[in-house]
């Protein structure tokens, strides 16, 4: 193979973007990867385990993260965004806004001394605001690149012209308050892959969850929050405790299709909730064998490899009861125990079930900022505001040379995201190679 002169631009550093970038890089193609957050890893990094094998998510992801970071053919722009794209397939150019993290990247060794001294407590976005971080922080403990970022919005120096304790603490003199945002121009891009993942309905419209008391009742959490609670490196160290009284829940209700399959919120099915709910219930059971789980569903959707047997195991070995019923609303008693009212199809009775905790399988929605990105790239979105793809060819967007993979065009699980990522890489390579 002759030397490849054109490069690829991968937008989004979640598992899909990482896989696409690694495939292209392993083909000898240079990849510029742009990730909005301070570290790559995306949603998968937030997960505790992954279905249907219940592999530890970070265990299988971490080697990919460092591979991606260290790959000689990949240039990673973290904490950055694509601002402008021009040109056409085979010859795009792009402008990247690389936001200042106020840290000298090559100096920071992630020792954490600065974090200990920083006086500002800030809601931790990675942990779904279930705990506080500092204004100087690493996005998550195993994050890559393993360096700090200063949260300009919250840092006392930037907000009140005071402090700079981190600067004094850092033995490496890695703090640089003078750092500025940079515009980086990239030329000679053969193809672009968009893999910016998804948001959740609670990120854009909490009202939808009003009937379920989300945000009002302390013992109602979203599935991703629950995932963080289960995680050994999460805000509760993997010991699930409810927020009202710190007690370990013995009865958990998992409500499916919260926002999805609805003509009022999102019409589509979020695809992954039936499976991750079963996984979450299994893991919770592994934490505490006295746990009873109730999964309220419309249709159990488990088509992937090993998924049906996963559900069977859930019912047989993990004390999970699957109840066909969509929940209209929940209330709480005086001890803040959620009460679920549902119709029991077995006897047509309207039944009340008191539980300790409710977990909402909230709907996957297009990632925030998708409209803007679509405009920059000149690609179309579909009726649901996901990226529009060619019929039967899910990795092709409406624009030649721009490809996509993962949840940014349709909700899907990790294996399919990874397969599509490789698929998008193949299509991208066709243009770069075939020229």
């Amino acid at each position: 193979m002759e030397k490849v002169s054109k490069s690829a631009l991968v937008i989004g550093g979640g598992i899909a973007g990482i896989q696409a970038a690694l495939d292209l890089a392993d083909m000898g193609i240079h990849v510029d990867m742009v990730e909005k957050k301070p570290c790559i890893g995306g949603r998968m990094a937030q997960l505790d385990k992954t279905f249907p094998t219940n592999d530890c998510s970070i265990c299988i992801l971490a080697p990919k993260l460092s591979e991606c970071y260290r790959h000689p053919n990949i240039t990673l722009y973290s904490y950055s965004e694509v601002q402008k794209v021009e040109g056409s397939a085979g010859n795009f150019s792009a402008e990247i806004l690389k936001r200042a993290r106020y840290i000298k990247e090559e100096e920071c060794i992630n020792c954490g001394l600065c974090v200990e001294k920083c006086p500002m407590r800030v809601e931790d976005e990675f942990d779904r605001e279930l705990r506080k971080r500092r204004a100087i922080y690493i996005y998550y403990l195993q994050g890559v690149p393993a360096i700090m970022t200063i949260d300009k919005e919250k840092c006392l120096w930037f907000t009140k012209n005071a402090c700079r304790i981190c600067e004094k603490t850092c033995e490496r003199e890695a703090i640089d308050f003078e750092q500025e945002d940079q515009i980086i121009k990239l030329e000679n891009i053969g193809s672009i892959i968009v893999a910016t993942g998804y948001s959740l309905i609670e990120d854009i419209d909490k009202d939808v969850l009003k009937n379920y008391g989300y945000g009002k009742f302390r013992n109602v959490v979203s599935a991703l929050e629950f995932e963080r609670l289960e995680c050994a490196s999460g805000p509760q160290g993997g010991h699930i405790k409810r927020f009202s009284d710190g007690k370990t829940p013995k009865k958990i209700a998992f409500l499916q299709c919260i926002g999805s399959r609805s003509d009022r919120v999102e019409k589509y099915c979020s695809s992954i909730c039936c499976m991750y709910t079963t996984k979450e219930a299994m893991i919770a059971y592994e934490h505490d064998n006295e746990l009873e789980s109730y999964v309220f569903y419309i249709d159990m959707r488990a088509g992937g490899k090993g998924f049906q047997s996963f559900l069977r195991r859930g019912a047989a070995e993990y004390n999970i009861k699957y109840i066909k019923s969509k929940i209209a609303q929940i209330t709480v008693d005086e001890k803040e125990n959620p009460i679920i009212i549902y119709e029991d199809l077995d006897n047509d009775k309207i039944t009340q079930l008191k539980v300790d905790l409710v977990v909402l399988a909230t709907c996957i929605v297009p990632p925030q900022g998708i409209d803007n990105l679509a405009e920059i790239l000149g690609i179309e979105l579909n009726d649901y505001n996901f990226i529009k793809t060619t019929p039967f060819i899910p990795v092709e967007t409406s624009k030649n040379g721009v490809f996509t993979c993962g949840c940014v065009h349709e909700p899907m699980d990790i294996p399919r995201s990874v397969a599509e990522a490789s698929g998008a890489a193949a299509k991208a390579a066709e243009i770069i190679r075939g020229g």
Binding site: M27, E171, C269
Partner: protein, 561 residues
């Protein structure tokens, strides 16, 4: 065993990193560096504020030169992040990168024993002693180079195989498709329309076949099967039998895209192929607009999600919806009732399709696994949980939504490729989550419903995915593989009893018996896990960089010989 080849004097250099106060704030690194100077074969030690900084790296290089060091130990953070950096550094200093050893005295010592600085000091000292002892035994290793033949073989000429082959040929690789039948297209040839878009299957597949025919670098070999496969990543020799003529192909990578089969519906719900047929038998009727029925009843999960076939075939719900809608299109007065368990329409367009089917008057009745529909001559009796009563539904055509099943000859191909199958007979990928289109064996990839029942959209993306995975290999004239692999050294050959236990434990099929009946390790496939060395019945196999000798020397260094 290493003495024979290690004539030179061993000179270990140890660099103790303060990591600012991360290590230096807990233990006295200067003192530690001085003390470890006394360990066997240690020729030089120093402490650095940050060994990973430019200054630190320069100090290593300088010391290697000045003190003629031939082994380097860095005691600092974790090899998981910094080993590549230091390996590169000693490489620049003229040493083989494998002559480096990492000792973790931060993440696993000072950070976790901050309140016990004395014990932390002792632990750091022990760890360095062990690390230095292993360093003494380290041997230079070469990255192994494997030549790659930039050609690919795709087994199966359905939509998955064609997608993979098209992508590879467009990327400039010579590609062969081997197809069992006398024409390309696979199952799509026998379908009517494709969901969820209103497209004729034959028209759609026709375009792809046309692309294949017009593609450069792409050769289609129909009516043929693979009968033998030899070799390994980058270097496969494949024998093809085309109507009795044997042909040999040399390729660098192989993609399995053999698809799946239809279930034989005999004995299911009174199947007779006339009044009670499968969805696949319905398709040509719809295509030819040859449907006389007025009352159509479809049964989902016919032969799947049961004890025998516990999986969901994932395409049947959409197939049923598609055919139901086609019937409604032909004649809206025909009654179509679908008996289902859980309707599987995940994602955006499929859920919309389900809604459309309801809008067009398709009737859905849920049944339960415990109370299966009872098919009689002209009616189906089914218990409807929603109203708590048994329903009678008249039919003049009963359509069974039967699952896709694994090909019966998957086993033969799996044996040729030395790749595994899962319990239902489908091919088993390397990792369900993160390597969905790889096999554990490098150089062999998979896409489409050979792995698991998938719809056309996913089949196509998986076809491309397999192509991408193959391309990561085929793009290179040679590839470097891990140097820390397993070997059967010449001096150990007499120990090998030929028991083959190593062949069985190797997760990557990297060990085989060659034509001389000797154990041979295919370096290109070995990932260096060391299972074989730990298992070898006569300790003949050696896992480089983690040899018995090296690990035992660490144990002795700690336990005292």
């Amino acid at each position: 065993m290493s003495e024979e080849r290690n004539e030179e004097e061993i000179r270990v250099g140890v660099f103790v990193c303060h990591c600012g106060s991360n290590i230096g704030g807990v233990i006295d690194c200067k003192k530690l560096a001085e003390e470890v100077r006394n360990f066997p074969d240690v020729a030089y030690t120093e402490d650095n504020l940050y060994t990973c900084s430019e200054n630190g790296l320069a100090a290593i290089k300088k010391a290697v030169e000045e003190h003629k060091l031939n082994r380097v130990v860095v005691a600092s953070c974790t090899p998981r992040t910094h080993e590549p950096l230091f390996r590169e550094c000693i490489s620049e200093a003229g040493l083989n990168p494998y002559l480096f050893n990492f000792v973790n005295i931060r993440d696993q010592c000072t950070w976790v024993h901050m309140k016990h600085p004395e014990e932390a000091y002792d632990k750091a000292k022990d760890l360095i002693k062990m690390g230095a002892a292993k360093a003494v035994k380290l041997e230079p290793l070469d990255m192994i180079m494997v030549n790659i033949n930039p050609a690919a073989l795709v087994i199966g000429g359905g939509v998955a195989g064609m997608s993979a082959a098209l992508s590879l040929s467009r990327q400039g690789f010579k590609t062969y498709i081997v197809e069992k039948e006398d024409k390309l297209g696979g199952r799509l040839n026998s379908l009517h329309k494709l969901f969820p878009y209103d497209i004729e299957a034959t028209e759609f597949v026709g375009k792809i076949i046309n692309n294949v025919k017009n593609a450069q670098n792409l050769e289609v070999i129909t009516s043929s099967r693979v009968i033998n496969i030899e070799g390994f990543i980058g270097n496969y020799e494949v024998e093809i039998d085309q109507n009795g003529n044997i042909r040999k192909l040399e390729v660098g990578a192989i993609i399995v895209a053999v698809g799946s089969s239809l279930l034989n519906p005999q004995g299911l719900f009174g199947y007779d192929g006339i009044k009670r047929i499968t969805q696949y038998e319905l398709e040509p009727k719809l295509k030819n607009k040859d449907l006389k029925a007025k009352e159509v009843v479809m049964i989902q999960c016919a032969g799947s999600r049961n004890d025998e076939r516990p999986y969901c075939s994932s395409v049947c719900c959409m197939t049923a919806l598609k055919n139901a809608l086609t019937i409604k299109e032909l004649n809206p007065d025909i009654h179509v009732t679908i008996l289902f368990r859980d309707l599987y329409t995940p994602g955006t367009s499929y859920e919309e399709y389900y809604r459309k089917a309801r809008e067009q008057g398709v009737l859905f009745v849920k049944y339960d696994e415990d109370r299966m529909p009872n098919v009689e001559e002209n009616q189906v009796k089914v218990f409807n949980e929603y109203i708590g009563d048994e329903m009678i539904i008249a039919y003049d055509l009963l359509v069974l939504s039967t699952p896709l099943v694994a090909n019966s000859d998957n086993k033969d191909l799996a044996q040729l490729l030395k790749v595994p199958l899962e319990a239902n007979g489908f091919f088993l990928e390397a990792h369900v989550k993160l390597r969905p289109n790889d096999f554990a064996t490098d150089g062999v990839y998979i896409g489409g419903s050979a792995k698991w029942p998938v719809d056309i959209t996913e089949t196509i993306s998986q076809g491309y995915a397999a192509a991408s995975r193959a391309s990561t290999i085929l793009s290179h004239e040679t590839i470097e593989v891990e140097g820390a692999t397993s070997i059967l050294p010449e001096y150990n050959k007499s120990l090998c009893t030929g028991c083959e236990v190593c062949i069985k434990v190797c997760p990557y099929n990297a060990i085989k018996k060659n034509e001389n009946d000797e154990i041979e390790i295919i370096q290109a496939l070995c990932k260096g896990c060391g299972l074989c060395a730990a298992t070898c019945t006569n300790k003949a196999l050696v896992i480089r960089h983690f040899t018995d000798d090296q690990i035992l020397s660490e144990i002795y260094a700690y336990g005292g010989e």
